[in-house]
Each structure stands twice: as C-alpha cells, then as structure tokens.
Amino acid sequence: MKVNTMAEMMMNGESPEILFWVGCAGSFDQRAQKITKAFASILDKVGYKYAILGKEEACTGDPARRAGNEFLFQMMAYQNIQVLNGYGIKKIVTTCPHCFNTLKNEYPELGGTYEVIHHTTLLQQLIDEGRIKLKEGGSFKGKKISYHDSCYLGRANNIYEAPRKVLEALDAELIEMKRCKTNGLCCGAGGAQMFKEDEPGDKRINIERTDEALATGAAFIASACPFCNTMMTDGVKNREMENEVGVLDIAEMIAASME
C-alpha cells in the first residue's frame, strides 16, 4: 500500500477526500505507530482517498496550551493553519482526541476552520455504510471488552457513543467500568501530565484507572487515544497482567477483524 502525503497528491494533481492528521504520538511513539498503521490500513482497504501532511505536520500545541504556554501554542497553531489552509484542507480525521479537540474547537477562531472528525466516528460511519466488512467470528467475538473513555473525546466533546457502537460491531461483550462516560476517570496523561513526573500523591492515576478496568474482568481494554493507550498499557504491566489483558485501540481491533 501507499501512504500519500498532501505534497505528493498535489504534485499528481489529485486531492484527497480527507486529511489524516496523525499527531505526534501516532508519528513517533512506537506503540502509537501501530495504531496509526492500523487506521491507515483500514482507510486503504475500504478505498478511502486520504493523505497525510508527512513532514509538514507539527504538534497542534495542545500540551503547550494546557501547560500554560500560550505563546508556543499560538506559534504552532499559526504554522499548522498556514499549511492546512495552503492545501485548502476541508476535512480532517485524527486518531488523537487531543489533536481532534484542538483542530476542531480551538483553530477556528485562529483562522483554521475544517470539518474535523475523530477516527472512531469515521469507523462507525464506515461500518454503518457497509464499507468496513467484518469477519464472521472475528477474534473479539464474545470477548469481554471494557472501553476507557478519553476525556478529550468524552467530556470535552461529548462523544461517547461512536466508540461503543464500533465495539458492538465486533460482537464482543461490552462491560462498562464503574466510572464511565460522563463520569469516566482520566488516564492521567492530559493537561501535559504525560510529559512530566506526577505531583506527590499516594497512587498514580493510570494505576487507579487500570485497577478499575481490571476489576471488570475484561480481556481487552479498548482505548481511542494514543496517550490513554500508553497509560493503560503501563498500568497493566505494572499490575503484571499483560499476558491476560490486552490494551488495544479501537482502530487496531477493527483492522484485525476486517475481511
């Protein structure tokens, strides 16, 4: 398969249906790269014409803004909006809820207005339209899956159903954690916490959340955010449950279950 960049598409006089905003985690983090690849392979398989920015993509500035560094955020936003508007981008899909939130809600007043959707929403659409065809008796059939709500998808943007609908399509048994949907507990990564040590306390947030997920007895913890994925993966390892419980992004589950 071929992953095209916007620059390549432009050179060939083509334009994509959608821009896949990969995000820093999806681009550089080894674990998150797998999510990126899984999602790209889904788009490729269903024949969705997409492109990435490639080397022209840069951090949206989310962690800088949340940490309090508005200057850096505005610099990143300025650069990205220049690039996106330069290519005349209309529609963006991203596998990262933080990028999603920033692109969708914070760039418009800075001059960057696009239709932005999260990959779980796109996956739900593709399943509903019958473009994604799932194997009969896929590897998740009847398995217990617990979905961990990402704060930036859930509370921040009120998206609770799309990821769950996608998981239901896997014929799996969805078990909710005690704190879910609007009451979901953060994984501990947001607000630039991912990039620093925890403040003094008696437990790490990701351990607290992992314990809750493990208590459901689920065989898989489903995530929809590369940062949540890292946090939950670390938590499961910390509890030495990595052989019993898998932490997978919803895109990885779908990619593994497609015909």
Binding site: S27, S41, K55, A64, E70, Q74, R155, G190
Partner: protein, 438 residues
C-alpha cells in the same frame, strides 16, 4: 401593644433588608473586580440552562436519591417562603392569618401543603446532618472543610430544622387557641402535622399559648431575616447565585480553552510584521495572577460554590492523593475576594497587600497536578468551572514567571524545535508511512 409590635416588625424588616442589600452590593462589587467578559449571547439557550440546571437541578440527579432529598429541602424552602409573605403582611398590618378569610378552604389546603414540606425539610436535614457527621461521607470529612466551612454546613442544616419546628409549633398552638374559641385566632380547619403536636399544649392557659404562638412567630420571621443575612457569609449563598451562574454558564464545548487574542496577535505580528500596528502595546498581563485577572464569571463561580465537593470527589488528582482539590480552588478564590473586599472597605480602594491568588492562596503544586480532564466541570451541579481558573493561573506561572518543571521546559523546546513534544527528528515524522510503503 399592637402598634408597638407593628413598629418593631417594620424596624426589624428594614434593618434586615438594609443589611442584606449592603452586603449584596459588596459581593456584586467584588465579582465585578474581575475582567469583563460578554456572556449575553444566545439568551434562549441560557434561559434553558437556568431552568434545567438551577431550577430543575438536572446535574443533582446523577444520584437520584440525594437529588430527591435535596429537592425536598429546596422546594420546601422556596414554597414555604410563600407563607413568609403572609407573615410579613400580618406583621406590617397587625393582622393575624390575613389570607385565611380570603382564601377560604384553599388556605387550609395550602398550609397543610406547607406543613407537609416542613416535615420533609426537617427529615432531610436530619439525614443530611447524619451524612456529614455520622456516616462521614468522604467529601464531607475532606480536609478542605476543616474549621469554619464544616460548621457552616451544620449551622445551615440546624437553622432549617429550627425554622421549620417553629413554624409547626406556631401552627399547633394556633389550633389549640382556635379550639379554645379565642376570637383573634380565625378558624382555619385542622392542619395535619401540627395537629399531632397539639396534645403538648392542650391544658395550657390561653395567655401562655399566645405567648408561645407569638414567640414562635417572631422567632420564625426573625430567624428568616437572620438567615438571609447569614447567606452572604456562607456557602449557602448558592441558593441565590446558582441561578445567575447557570444562566451565564459557558455554552462552548468544555474542551475548548479560552483564546488569548493578545498572544495570538503577538505571534501574528512576529510572523507577518507588516500586519503589526505601529502603536501596538503589549498586553499588561498574561494569564491570571490574582482575582483581578480572572473573568467576572470565575468570581461569580466562587461565590456560587456550596462546597459540596462533587468536583473534588471526581478529580483524578485528588482521588490519587495529590494536593489539588477543585473545591479548594473555588474556596481559595472566594477567600481572596473576601480579603480584597475587606481591604477595599477599609481603604476605599484596593491597596496592595503584597499577596495574590497565585502562590498565597493557591500553590504551584496544586496547579501542576491538574490533568484538564473536565471531571470537576462535569460534576458541578451549579455550572462552576474550577478548570478555567486553574488554566489561567497556569498561564501566569509559565508566561509571567517562566515557572515550569524541568521536564516541561524540555517539552516546550522540543515542540518549538522538533515540532513534537519528544526529541525526535522532524524528518522521521512519516517514517511509519515509509515502512508501510515498502
């Protein structure tokens, strides 16, 4: 004698209302110390929020049983206050049960309804006292509430029990007096709940019954006036401010952070110098160091907080033992406003006291623990955002004081130089794609 009572009543009412108005004015002044922010858009949606969130207490119903109990106190308190209208008019005009002859049988029905609510209020207040002091719910024994705030909560519940008991006792003695044929006491028909209390008073002389009835009447109305004037000093102010606070709640999705147009322009002028106006003055201050730098809505939030602690109970940082407590952020903001307000009362205008909300009331460690997960915002029944205050204080820390943990400084420089929070080469950004293209 009657005229003395009337005069006393007028005096008491006037004093209570004057005191309350004065303090309410101070609170309004304190709130307006914050920065201007236009929140008058979309009035229909705002009105809907007021109805759903404040009047309908929608968020409370996340826990239906507690919501129901809270609703009993709330409805009881508001509806029984209709009775206060009669009490006030009686007091002013020197009448007794002014509405009884006017309303006829409906009057009996109304008072019975009020009594039913009064008993409900007493019951729920007792349950709530138990939750705070015997069952010791975690969010109520939390260290945020040590000292005055914990007593404040108990005083409110006790006062409501006392006020409702006075109301019932007053009605009970009234009924005995009616039965004794005292002409001043109109026949109103029996009131179900206070009738149960009448055995306590049967056999008492008319004069002692009247003394009890009058004492209850006076204490009831004096208690209500005292309560009114206690509100501005108490967490209980939420019974009033929840309404404007719900109306002015932010309507944008919670994920969106407030933009800083001043910084946006600075960056624009740096990138495109030709767009810079020649007289562009740099913004006075970045983020919020003190209450003056916050929006008036943040300050209204602080006065609307009733310290219930749902925010703190849902905060991932607090749950895992970090210092941050969103409730304490709101309490600290109100404390600072009160201190500034006192300063203004004494000096006519604010005289620098070399203190600020940041550092002196809210510490760096608290701010640093926030994951911006919006759990506190979601949890608040009265539309408060502790997160907005945290974010504004963080901006001040970073942009005014360059005060960041070492790791964040590394993150910032990576974002600036490598366009990602980690130290990877920007050239490797699409390496995953190259691997797939092979």
């Amino acid at each position: 004698m009657q005229y003395v009572q009337q005069a006393l009543f007028v005096l008491l009412s006037a004093a209570a209302i004057w005191l309350f108005t004065k303090k309410a004015g101070e609170i309004r002044r304190n709130i307006l110390l914050g920065k201007d922010e236009d929140l008058s858009d979309n009035p229909s949606l705002r009105f809907k929020n007021l109805l759903l969130l404040a009047l309908g207490q929608k968020k409370m119903f996340k826990n239906p049983l507690v919501a129901l109990m809270h609703f009993v106190i709330y409805a009881g308190f508001i509806i029984i206050n209709l009775e206060v209208l009669e009490i006030v008019l009686d007091g002013l005009l020197g009448k007794h049960r002014l509405f009884a002859p006017l309303l006829g049988p409906l009057y009996n029905w109304l008072i019975n309804g009020f009594e039913f609510l009064a008993v409900g209020v007493i019951f729920v207040c007792v349950v709530f006292l138990c939750r705070r002091n015997i069952i010791k719910l975690k969010r109520f024994i939390h260290k945020d509430l040590n000292g005055w705030p914990r007593s404040d909560a108990n005083y409110i519940l006790l006062t409501e029990i006392i006020l409702m008991s006075l109301f019932l006792t007053m009605n009970a003695t009234d009924q005995v007096l009616q039965a004794n044929g005292n002409e001043h006491y109109h026949q109103t028909g029996s009131f179900f709940f206070s009738n149960l209390l009448t055995p306590l008073f049967i056999g008492d002389s008319n004069s002692s019954l009247m003394a009890i009835e009058r004492t209850c009447w006076w204490l009831h109305i004096a208690g209500i006036f005292a309560f009114l004037n206690y509100l501005p000093y108490s967490k209980h102010l939420h019974i009033m401010l929840a309404f404007p606070n719900a109306y002015y709640a932010r309507l944008e999705v919670p994920g969106k952070m407030k933009n800083m147009p001043a910084v946006q322009n600075e960056v624009l002028y740096a990138m495109q110098p030709e767009t810079a106006p020649t007289d562009a003055a740099p913004p006075a201050r970045f983020g919020a160091k003190d209450i003056f730098d916050l929006s008036w809505k943040n300050l209204l939030d602080a006065y609307s907080c009733t310290e219930c602690g749902r925010c703190t109970a849902s905060c991932p940082a607090n749950i895992t033992g970090k210092l941050l407590s969103p409730r304490k952020i709101m309490m600290a903001t109100r404390d600072r406003m009160e201190d500034v307000g006192r300063n203004i009362n004494v000096n006519k205008h604010f005289v620098d006291d070399s203190k600020s909300l940041l550092h002196d009331y809210i510490s760096i460690e608290e701010l640093r623990a926030c994951t911006t997960c919006n759990a506190c915002v979601e949890a608040c029944p009265v539309s408060i955002s502790p997160l907005e205050i945290i974010a504004e204080l963080r901006r001040s820390l970073i942009m005014e004081e360059s005060n960041a943990p070492q790791e964040w400084n590394g993150t910032f420089s990576n974002i600036e130089n490598n366009f990602a929070p980690w130290k990877f080469s920007p050239d490797d950004r699409d390496k995953w794609a190259e691997e797939m293209n092979r």
